[in-house]
């Protein structure tokens, strides 16, 4: 018994959780948990503040990695075996359809959640100083997520995959000068074929996931180092803005409004680093509002984790991932559509290839990346930034509307066909 306790103690190396010291040590002595602060602000735990979208996205990524590795055991990335392997998963492998469904729905869910997460961060103004760079990292993660989903789309090697990728990569080829070569580089040929399948596989299972993991680490680290979750906007009082500290060493001429160092409260090595803390500080009266991460933050995260997992499992039980006939370069389905998240783009491209396929998306990405550096208004309160909020809302609504139009209102020949009208493509 004593030995067991000794072994347990050698693993956890902390005081009992009934003590405050134990609760703190649980967090900062644990490699997995130490990304959390030992104590968090109560209001930041509120569901309606962040909707835990970042967590949901992360948990979906975990689901994708685990199911993805399992699926890799049954997948050969060359045609026509790739398609045969899909059929094997569907008909012969134990729980094959379930795991494939989980992977598919989690992937779609991740695209949705990463976008919603971005919206939340924008609407709460959380990209503002000192968090500008973390917003940039977030935008890169959004692009990587789209890349992961797009490369994964080809792998089943069915008609849906083949033509979605054909259309999708052709949108990219409208880029001036380099577009054509870029497409050849991505496909390893002039059209989607064996080489493209292998390249997409390599990107999907090795390159992009590694990049996502690397950037996720940076993203989390910066969340913590930039002062944790931004405070809910409803907690911001006008006079508090004075207490906001600017980033790093400012230009000499600019005086810093820094709260007295002695009242700063941080948990970590940052205190021994010379200089001033760079994040929102906690004043003594706010100290009252904090609680230990254990169990308050963890139980919420656990609930979100299980909510995410059960939702995906439920969807996977009742909805099957699509699998059409085997890819056939000779037969183009009518209409041939890109993956849904690119249908807004395809809709734009149908009106103007250069404007819709190159200029609009390039501007969109550049604008997203530049937002924190152009929006110099330090206030995070909605009342102070009406104009920006309207522009962003317009951007979101336009995106969603275009995707809805592309998905539901476009029929054979990209003609306007509302979803309630049934049209049969003209026979040859």
């Amino acid at each position: 018994m004593k030995l067991i306790r000794e072994i347990w103690q050698s693993i956890v190396r902390r005081d009992p959780l009934s003590t405050d010291k134990g609760k703190s040590e649980l967090v900062f002595l644990n490699v997995w948990l130490h990304i959390h602060p030992a104590k968090v602000k109560k209001e930041n735990l509120r569901f309606k503040h962040s909707f835990y979208l970042g967590f949901i996205t992360f948990f979906l990524f975990i689901i994708l990695v685990t199911t993805g590795i399992a699926l890799m055991c049954y997948y050969r990335p060359y045609p026509p075996q790739a398609y045969q392997d899909m059929k094997d998963l569907q008909f012969a492998v134990f729980m094959g359809p379930f795991l494939r469904n989980m992977h598919r729905w989690a992937a779609h869910g991740m695209v949705v959640c990463v976008f919603l997460h971005m919206c939340r961060v924008f609407y709460t103004g959380s990209y503002k100083k000192p968090r500008q760079f973390n917003w940039v990292v977030g935008v890169l993660l959004l692009l990587l997520t789209l890349g992961l989903s797009f490369t994964g789309y080809l792998l089943p090697w069915d008609q849906l995959a083949y033509w979605a990728i054909t259309v999708g990569t052709n949108i990219g080829s409208y880029a001036p000068l380099i577009g054509g070569q870029l497409r050849e580089l991505l496909l390893g040929g002039h059209s989607v074929g064996e080489a493209a399948l292998l390249r997409f596989y390599v990107l999907h299972v090795a390159v992009l996931p590694s990049l996502v993991i690397l950037l996720t680490i940076v993203h989390f680290w910066r969340v913590r180092k930039d002062g944790g979750l931004s405070r809910p906007v409803w907690k911001l009082k006008p006079q508090k803005q004075e207490a906001l500290v600017t980033i790093g060493a400012p230009a000499e001429a600019v005086p810093l409004h820094v709260a007295a160092a002695s009242t700063d409260k941080t948990y970590g090595l940052m205190e021994v680093v010379t200089g001033k803390p760079i994040f929102e500080t906690i004043t003594p009266e706010e100290e009252e509002d904090t609680v230990f991460s254990y169990p308050y933050a963890f139980v919420r995260e656990a609930v979100v984790l299980m909510g995410t997992v059960t939702t995906i499992m439920m969807m996977s039980l009742f909805m099957n991932a699509p699998l059409e006939e085997m890819a056939n370069p000779a037969v183009t389905p009518n209409p041939a559509k890109a993956p849904w998240y690119f249908l807004g783009l395809q809709e734009l491209v149908s009106h103007s290839a250069l404007l819709g396929g190159v200029v609009a998306p390039a501007l969109m990405v550049l604008a997203l990346l530049a937002i924190p550096y152009f929006d110099r208004n330090p206030s995070r309160r909605p009342g102070d930034r009406k104009w920006v909020l309207w522009v962003f809302t317009l951007f979101v609504v336009a995106n969603i509307a275009l995707i809805i139009v592309g998905t539901f209102f476009r029929g054979p020949g990209w003609a306007w066909v509302p979803p309630w009208v049934h049209v049969v493509a003209r026979p040859e």
Partner: protein, 151 residues
């Protein structure tokens, strides 16, 4: 708040989570267990009995078996896989024994280990006659070296 209740719900939750994870791991195990096999089957027809010569055994490369045919005793099928580490043994008619190229194990014509590191004699597989008069070998059924099929 009742402290005891507080902790018991959390603990029960963790217990439920752990069992869900355990069941999931089991499920993944079953997922990874192959349900169909694309390799050569374990039980297969090797052809008409008349196709096999008397005397020295016939070696079937893909199936990794030796087919013995004896005028008096009939058919027997020996595995060509060394019981040491799985290399393919060769038959030497001059010495009438099997040699393993990997670690020098030598087996007698009955499959017994003569010397070398092999821990067990060579396996002998059941051979039967199908309805259409062909020989069928079942690698899942091992038999004693004395087993013979008379045709």
């Amino acid at each position: 708040m009742n402290r005891r209740d507080f902790f018991s719900w959390g603990t029960v939750g963790v217990a439920a989570l752990c069992s869900a994870v355990a069941v999931s791991l089991g499920a993944v195990g079953r997922f990874l267990m192959p349900s169909v096999f694309y390799g050569p089957p374990q039980s297969f027809k090797i052809g008409d009995p008349a196709d096999f010569p008397f005397g020295s055994p016939t070696f079937l490369v893909d199936e990794k078996i030796f087919v013995f045919r004896d005028r008096e005793k009939g058919f027997a099928v020996a595995s060509a896989v060394c019981t040491h580490l799985g290399c393919t043994v060769a038959y030497f008619p001059s010495d009438r024994d099997f040699h393993c190229p990997c670690h020098g194990s030598v087996f007698s014509p009955t499959g017994a280990v003569l010397h070398g590191p092999a821990p067990r004699p060579l396996n002998w597989f059941e051979v039967t006659l199908t309805r259409d008069g062909q020989l069928r070998v079942d690698k899942d059924k091992t038999v004693p070296p004395t087993y013979r099929l008379m045709v």
